[in-house]
Structure formats: C-alpha cells, structure tokens
C-alpha cells in the first residue's frame, strides 16, 4: 500500500511538471497524448517528445485497441501496424494508459522506463489503472471547458463583426423617405440577426428626377456590409452623373467587377422617376421583380440583367412604365418573399402581390405585409435574411398629375421589340384561375369532406368531362410518353400551342415527380393520368402510389444561390409546374398522391422573352 501511494505521488508529481519537461522526454515521464481533437495539438516548437503528442488518428488500429483495453497497456508487447505505436516504441515508451470517458477515447498517458531502471510491477500497473479512471473524467471536463472558452471567444468576435456591419448599414441607409409633391414614398428595413447585405437608397438627381435603388449583396456580416457600401458609392456616382438606369447599372457593374471578392455579387434594381409625368424607367441586375399596381391589378416589372460584379461588359435591359394617379410600385428584397413559415413553405411573391392588390403601396402596405409575415412565420421565427421594402405611390394631386388618366399603360423606351411584353402578365390571372378551376366536387371524390373550401360553383363542376385516362409504369424517360399522350388527348380542344406546351411540360414534370418521389422508381408502381376539360379550362391529374411518402414541399429556387454553390442546382420541378399552369393542387387520398394541374384554355400566348407567368395559388394540401 505504501508503495502504491508513493508511486502515485511520484507520478502525479511527474504529471504536474509535464509541460515544463517536454524538452527532455526521457526516463520516467508520462506524456499525455490527446486523441481525436485537432485543436489539442501542442503549440510548442517541435521536439522529440512533441512527436508523441500528435493526434491519434481515428483509423489508427491503436485507437481501437486503446478504447477496448481495460487498464494499462505494455507497449513492447503490442504488434499493430500503427504509426503512433512505432513512434512510442522509438521513444522507448513502456506503458500506455488510455483515458476513456463515456465510451470515448479522450487521451493516452504514456510512460517511459522507471527512473531507477527497474521494471514496473503489478502494483504499479494496478495503481496506474486506478489513476487512469480518475484522470479521464477530469481531462474530459478540462477539454470541454477549453472548447467552451474557444467558442465563447469566437462568438465574441462574431458579435463584434456584426456590430461593425450593422453600423455600416445604419450609417448608409437613408434616414427617412424623401418628400415629393404628388407622391408618397415609404421604406422599411429590418436586418436579420446575422446582418445581410440589403440596401436601398433615394437619389435626388440633378434634373429633378428621383432615383430609387434597392439591392442585396450575397453573403452576410462585415464583408457584405463593405460590399454594400462600395456598391452604393459607385452606383451613386454613376447615377448622379445623369446616366439612364441601364447605363448606370452597366457602369456600376464594370467598376465593381474589378474589386469584388470571388463568389460575391450584388443584385440591384435601379429606377428613376420623373415626378411631373410619372415616367418610371428601370433596369434590373438580377433583383426581385418590383410589383406595379395599376387599376387594382398587380404586375411584376421585368427587365433582364445579370447581378452586379459577376462579369464585366454586361448590358442591362431598360424598361419603363408610366404611372397613373393611384398607381403604386413596390420594391422588395428576398428576405420577405423567401421567409419560411412554420411548415417550411415560403412566403412567396404571389402572397405579396395579392396583398398589394388590396392596398395602395405605402406605409399601410408595409404594415400589412409585416403583419402577414409575422403570422406566416410564427412566434419563434429565426429571421434568415434582411427584410427591405420600398414603396412608391402616385397620389391624386390636384392640378398636375392626377389628370393623366390616359397614361396607365406600359411603354417601352429603348427596346421596342419588347414593348408591351408585360401587359398581359398581371397576377390577377389568379382570378382567371379561379374561374377555370376544375371543380373539386366531382362525383368520384365527394369523400374528401372539405373539398368545397373554394366555394366553387356547382354548375362549373358539372361542366368538367373526362377526355381520357392513361397509366404508365415508373420508367425513366417515360414522361415523354405522357407529353405525347397529353398532346393527343387534348387535340380536339385545339388549345393555343403555347398553352399546350406549358401543359405538356407541367405534366412531364409532375409525372417525373410521381415516378421518383411517389413510386421510388419502382417499375411495378404506376403513374395515373386523367385528362379533363371544361368550357374554359383544361386539366390533368397525375397520381402515384406513394401517398405521403416523400416530402414534396414546394419551394422557390434561388438561382443566384445555386450559381454561388449555396444551393443544389436541382429542385426546379414543382417550381416549373406552379409557374406553367394556373393551378397546381395536391391531394392525398386512397393511398394515392395526386397533383391536379389546371390551365385556362384561352390563356394568352406567352409574351416571351419577358413573360412572367402567372404565379397562381400556392400548392395546397388537402387531406
């Protein structure tokens, strides 16, 4: 007993001076060799002993041996193909004490020969084993404490960085929206906790026009804030020189391209308003499409262009719209429309457009949008991105502006071939979809109970007829057969070719989804298709045998994020479906997952290349 105690004291003393004696790693020194954690490598200059303190790789057979061993290991007796073991043997280490805590190897104490030269006895080994069981939890606690300290320091550094980023943003954003006779402007900015790179700006241009800017920098934190500041300065300089929106973005892009870090870019919309005439010119570098409300209908304003900073020499399409009295325009960033709700669905542009259709774009719209957002995301929302809204509304001012009643039409200023391309793309097509709804209460599905939630008219229900039914096994590539079947089955309806193409593509995507997600590509499982027609609409049901198996929550793909490598390049199927038809509704019943696609028979021809198809209702689940 006395031997053991003294031995313990001796070893503990040795352990206590371990750090100071690493340079002399000879007789009698235990060396603690940490396992796994790369942070725990010694920071001292390399020395013979330091090589012993290297990580024990998880795939080193010695690691498994140490974990399984109960008690002290006599190093000379081991025969393993292990680099660490060879290093120990080369350093004349004799014993190894694995430190195991909660089933995890957290370190190994190694000992060289005894100072006096005699062999280790059974008592020594027993005492060392006891030591190991007591040291292991203490070492684990020390490791955890150190990790927590490191994490705390990292958090502190990030917080500081966020403070800097916030400061930059708050300094550069306008303090208030400008006062402009005959117009009402409002802005709202709510940074995410992580501080994204949203910005907006109002510019008083020399000739009396007003410049409106909204943008979003990829990335977050200080880098985003700095890039936002740079972009804002360059754009201001270009715009204040009087350049048109397209030229302003071109110049900004060319200058920014030189300085922008790799994989970063800026989406930006720049518009100029002539307050006297209501002429709004705009160009868009990949930013969310602004929404224009005219006569109660809401239309996205499209102008194509690549985000700033990606490539030099880009050109930016310039478009214009003449705003009439009571017209309004909403600029926004993706933080709102891409906010995720509790069920992981996105807030979405259609929801915003529907809101705008009911309200003039001013402070009231901002408040309503925020209220809807709050309801949508729930109480425990972790805001992922900045939310920015800028609204512009033409007032019914006496004298000058209100009497331009004939001006509520879209014009094209420099690119005549695209003139009017957007006129028919209003989101009020949602209403058309309502009228064209193939009714939910067909005789074969009265069992669903709540199907009548749309209040669809029963007359319409009776006007739907089945044109044909078809099934296909789940074979890769057979969605093309489904397309051919659609073309053939709907031929008697003589649909406009653009309508038929949209329906064919939507059916192909729905069929692929059914084969892949529903039927798991099991050739024995079928995809069921049914073609329907009413006097005003065509519809196809696509069903599979995988009710509720796969998560098929629709999302809006973010192309910029995909190009930046932040999102998978895939994930377009349901998005395309929703964009191509007027309604896409999902039902789960009788062990089948079915999507019903509806398209108006007299849908206007696509005004490509600038057509923005109707984003009809959200895909809904009924059960």
């Amino acid at each position: 007993m006395s031997v053991r105690v003294s031995a313990m004291r001796s070893w503990l003393k040795t352990l206590g001076v371990l750090r100071d004696r690493r340079e002399q790693p000879n007789a009698g020194q235990p060396i603690a060799t940490p396992a796994r954690s790369p942070r725990r490598q010694p920071r001292r200059p390399a020395s013979p002993a330091a090589t012993l303190a290297l990580d024990l790789a998880p795939d080193d057979p010695l690691a498994a041996y140490c974990l399984a061993a109960s008690g002290v290991i006599e190093i000379d007796r081991l025969q393993l193909d292990s680099p660490t073991l060879r290093a120990w043997q080369a350093a004349r280490m004799r014993l190894a004490l694995p430190l195991v805590s909660q089933g995890e190897l957290i370190g190994v104490i190694t000992l060289g020969p005894r100072a006096g030269g005699e062999e280790y006895g059974a008592d020594d080994l027993a005492a060392l084993t006891t030591l190991a069981t007591q040291v292991a939890p203490a070492v684990r606690v020390a490791q955890l404490a150190q990790e927590q300290q490191t994490q705390a320091r990292e958090r502190e550094r990030l917080e500081h960085e966020l403070d800097v980023a916030r400061l930059i943003q708050q300094t550069l954003l306008p303090k208030a929206a400008p006062e402009l006779p005959g117009w009402r402007l409002a802005a709202y900015y709510q940074p995410a906790r992580a501080v994204g790179g949203d910005f907006y700006d109002f510019l008083a241009l020399p000739d009396g026009r007003l410049g409106l800017v909204i943008g979003d920098v990829t990335d977050k934190g200080t880098p985003a804030a700095l890039l936002m500041a740079t972009t804002r300065s360059i754009l201001r300089a270009a715009a204040l020189g009087g350049a048109t929106p397209g030229a302003t973005l071109e110049r900004t892009n060319d200058l920014l391209h030189h300085d922008i870090p790799p994989r970063m870019f800026v989406t930006c919309l720049y518009a100029t308003l002539e307050p006297q005439t209501g002429l709004l010119r705009f160009a868009n570098a990949g930013h969310n499409l602004p929404l224009w409300r005219h006569d109660g209908a809401v239309t996205p304003l499209r102008a194509s262009g690549m985000p700033l900073g990606l490539m030099p020499g880009m050109r930016y399409e310039e478009q214009a719209v003449m705003l009439a009295a009571d017209d309004s325009v909403l600029l926004y960033s993706d933080g709102l429309v891409e906010a995720h709700g509790v069920n992981r669905a996105m807030f979405g542009q259609p929801r915003l457009a529907a809101l705008m259709a009911q309200s003039y774009a001013d402070q009231a719209l901002i408040e309503q949008a925020l209220a809807q957002l709050a309801a949508f995301v729930g109480a425990n929302w972790d805001q992922e991105d900045d939310v920015t809204l800028v609204t512009l509304r033409a007032l019914c001012a006496p004298g000058g502006y209100a009497d331009r009643s004939g001006f509520g039409v879209r014009i094209s200023c420099e690119d005549d071939e695209r003139a009017g391309a957007l006129e028919d793309t209003a989101i009020e097509a949602v209403d058309a979809a309502d009228a064209a709804d193939p009714n939910e209460s067909e005789p074969d599905e009265g069992d669903e109970g709540d199907e009548g939630d749309e209040g669809d008219e029963g007359d319409e229900a009776s006007r739907w007829r089945t044109l044909g039914e078809w099934t296909t096994p789940s074979h890769h590539g057979d969605e093309r057969l489904a397309m051919a079947w659609v073309a053939q089955t709907f031929a008697p309806l003589a649909l406009p070719s653009a309508t038929l193409e949209r329906l064919k593509t939507a059916v192909a995507e729905a069929t692929m989804n059914a084969m892949e997600h529903g039927n798991q590509h099991d050739p024995a499982r079928l995809v069921y298709l049914e073609a329907l027609a009413s006097p005003t609409a065509a519809a196809v049901r696509v069903g599979d045998e995988g009710a509720g198996v796969a998560d098929r929550t629709p999302t809006t793909p973010n192309l910029a994020a995909k190009l930046a490598g932040e999102e998978s390049p895939r994930g377009w199927g349901l998005f395309l479906i929703r964009q191509l038809v007027d309604e896409a509704r999902i039902e789960i019943a009788h062990g089948r997952h079915t999507i019903r696609l509806v398209i108006a028979r007299d849908a206007p021809a696509p005004a490509s290349p600038t057509a923005q198809p109707q984003e009809a209702r959200d895909v809904r689940h009924s059960s």
Binding site: D254, P262, R263, N284, G286, S304, G305, M306, P307, L310, M311, P312, G313, M314, H475, H476, G477, D478, E479, R480, L481, M483, A484, A498, E501, R502, T505, A508, E509, M512, P557, L559, K562, L563, A564, G565, S568, P569, R570, G571, W572, G573, F575, L576, Q579, L580, P606, S608, P609, T610, A611, Q612, P613
Partner: protein, 126 residues
C-alpha cells in the same frame, strides 16, 4: 419513344466559331442522361479558353427540370471561369422556361448562331 434509350437521345458537338466563341451544338433531350456528355462537351469547349460559350439548342426537342439543373451547373462553371454562357435556337416554349427560371438573366438568349456571333463581335466590352 421509350424503346430508344434516353441516353442515346442526346448529343453535343463542339466547334470553335471564332477565337473568342466556342459553340456547343446540342441535340436530343437535355435530361439526367445528358449530364456526362454535356459536361464533356463543356470541358472540350472551355479548353480553348474562349471568352464565350454558345449553346446551340436548335436541335434540342426536350429540356426537363434536371436539364435546367445541368445548365445551371454549366453557368456556375462559366461564371467561375469568367466567361459568358450564351444560348440560341431555343423554341418559344423553352425561351419561356429560361425566363421563368431567370436563367435568361444570366445568359443572353439569341434566336440563332448568326445573331449571337454578330452580337459578340459587336460587343466592345470584355
């Protein structure tokens, strides 16, 4: 249709139209099976270090969502390499798909090769 394996329904041929522009002429279906051939054609086109790569889709009869994803992948590669990706010969329907997906914001869409090449030679920028 299904008796012809889908992976034989896609082909890509590369030719150098000008020192600056390589053309990748695609035909058949751009779907999951096109991935290998499409990426190989892109690598071949990129080898000459052109400033722009033009995808000629005049002989493409089908692009599905996976095909869109492949084109997104090519676009990401061209952007990293600092070159432009252009497309021509799309049917009206596929122009609409490029617009919906906003691919058209990132790659200029031309009716045909001649227009695309003329635009590139007119382009005094980078």
């Amino acid at each position: 249709m299904s008796d012809i394996p889908a992976n034989q329904r896609f082909a890509a041929r590369v030719r150098q139209a000008t020192p600056q522009v390589a053309i990748v002429a695609l035909s058949g279906e751009i779907n999951a099976y096109a991935e290998t051939a499409l990426n190989a054609a892109y690598a071949e086109a990129a080898a000459s270090q052109p400033t722009a790569i033009l995808l000629n889709c005049a002989a493409v009869d089908y692009i599905n969502s996976t095909g869109i994803a492949l084109i997104v992948g090519l676009l990401a590669q061209t952007q990293q390499a600092g070159r432009a990706l252009l497309v021509c010969g799309l049917s009206e329907h596929y122009v609409e798909l490029f617009t919906i997906t906003r691919l058209a914001d990132y790659m200029r869409v031309f009716p045909d090769e001649a227009t695309a090449l003329a635009s590139m030679s007119d382009d005094t920028h980078g």
